[in-house]
């Protein structure tokens, strides 16, 4: 019976402790995977300045989009395309979208020998390259851009058995940086981090520039705070972080 009481006390403590600890003001932002590092820096900076906590949930844009139409309680979406925020706006789920960053797809490898080839197309033709990671071409805009570039180069069909699908662009980079694959289609932003600097990359000029839109979601309960964060996104401090991670 003594054990019972200890268990009961433990249960009560865990269940009761939540309410007070996390009651402070907090924003919940859905962030496309390519923007994770930049977002984290911005969130930390914003928190320090305003004392408003900003939590991120990271995934592919398509995945976040389907969560939102199913009622996920985010205040803001930082998408990796223009299309999905526009659709949310049209469906009455979001305010008018605005562009917050422009990104670029790259082909990254942990092995510096990889970039000795003249072009990224030549680099991929090398027999040594057995596996190449690419983000989900349906749900991840960076994956879709990489696919377009491969199609333009006439290599999409030929590479099918070498391509490894990642959930989102962050996972594509994870596969490449752990050398689970020989090279990976990634976001330019990944090359700026500590891991990214250890390898080398080609800029994929054939891939369309990735215009990243954001939108405030209509269901937000923190409108004042989320508008403050949106303003912060175009502040000089935020711009500096964007440039650092290779966004335009």
């Amino acid at each position: 019976m003594k054990l019972c009481r200890i268990v009961a006390a433990f249960v009560l403590i865990v269940l009761m402790s939540s309410v007070s600890a996390f009651a402070e003001q907090k924003l919940s932002v859905a962030v496309a995977a390519n923007f994770i590092s930049a977002f984290k820096e911005m969130a930390a900076d914003f928190e320090a300045k305003t004392k408003i906590k900003v939590d991120g949930t990271f995934s592919s844009t398509g995945n976040l989009y389907s969560q939102i139409i199913n009622g996920a309680p985010y205040d803001l979406l930082l998408s990796a395309d223009e299309e999905r925020p526009a659709r949310l706006n049209k469906d009455g789920l979001a305010d008018k979208p605005f562009v917050y960053a422009k990104g670029q797809a790259v082909l990254w490898s942990a092995s510096k020998d990889f970039c000795k080839a003249k072009t990224w197309q030549d680099a991929l033709k090398n027999e040594q390259i057995k596996k190449i990671s690419i983000a989900n071409t349906q749900t991840a805009p960076y994956g879709a851009a990489a696919k377009k570039a491969l199609e333009k180069a006439g290599m999409w069909d030929g590479l099918q058995n070498k391509l490894v699908n990642a959930q989102d662009i962050a996972q594509s980079f994870q596969y490449a940086s752990t050398s689970a694959v020989d090279a990976g289609f990634c976001a330019m932003s990944a090359t700026a981090g500590a891991e990214g600097k250890k390898g080398c990359f080609f800029v994929i000029h054939e891939a369309p520039e990735i215009i990243q839109s954001a939108c405030i979601l209509k269901r937000t309960t923190n409108r004042a705070s989320v508008e403050k964060f949106v303003q912060f996104l175009s502040s000089p401090a935020a711009k500096e972080i964007k440039v650092k991670y290779g966004y335009r």
Binding site: V11, V14, S18, I36, D55, T57, N70, G71, Q167, Q174
Partner: protein, 219 residues
């Protein structure tokens, strides 16, 4: 290390265990002591979540708990909110996901009780309810405890179902198993390692406890 995610995991596992044990006890009781038409079909249905891929469970839960699903719709009418991507949503998912792990050990424990004990209780004038609380539960307590621990551990380990139904919202639906997956994706191996390591002693200690309980019940 992400203490918030560990906390959500612990809270989810506790709430799941408490609710599920209360729901599962009468079900296990019926399965152990009654014979009725279609019993084996019902039993197989109850154990189905154990045999299905978590993504199948997740898929159907999204359908019924979404804004257009019948549970989601009813929930929306009463609360005005969504059930997906909330703590309550993942609690429901976690309960359904763990049903077999509560029912099966409890049914086994109930069936093992000597029938003569129950008959003696009835002869001495105890009602069915009184017999349940004063004879059956004390005599199958180690089996009940084992069921509770199994449910608790199974909920701690849930991943796919929760990711589909809950997304990954810090403080709400981001449980430790999802936080580990995301930390690995972001190559934060330190955070992933710390959290992963904290699972091993917890799970191991509970498994030791189950073994101990099983041994006790055999004596």
């Amino acid at each position: 290390m992400d203490y918030l995610a560990l906390y959500v995991t612990l809270k989810l596992a506790l709430v799941t265990t408490i609710i599920l044990m209360v729901i599962a006890a009468p079900v296990a009781y019926a399965l152990a002591y009654y014979r009725f038409a279609g019993k084996s079909f019902l039993e197989a249905l109850i154990y189905l979540p154990m045999a299905l891929p978590p993504t199948v469970i997740g898929f159907y839960l999204i359908i019924v708990m979404g804004p257009k699903g019948f549970i989601g719709k009813a929930w929306g009418m009463f609360t005005g909110g969504s059930l997906l991507f909330t703590f309550i949503g993942i609690t429901i998912a976690s309960i359904i996901y763990s049903i077999p792990f509560a029912v099966q050990p409890m049914k086994a424990a109930f069936s093992k009780i000597d029938r003569r004990l129950l008959e003696a209780a009835y002869v001495l004038g105890l009602s069915k309810k009184a017999t349940f609380f004063r004879v059956i539960i004390p005599n199958s307590i180690s089996g009940i405890a084992a069921a509770a621990i199994l449910v608790f551990l199974h909920s701690i380990g849930a991943f796919g179902v929760l990711l589909m139904v809950g997304g990954s919202i810090p403080g709400q639906t981001e449980v430790a198993s999802i936080a580990i997956y995301e930390a690995v994706e972001m190559m934060d191996y330190r955070a992933a390692g710390m959290m992963a390591l904290s699972f091993i002693p917890i799970s191991y200690a509970f498994l030791l406890l189950i073994n101990k309980l099983n041994e006790d019940s055999r004596v």
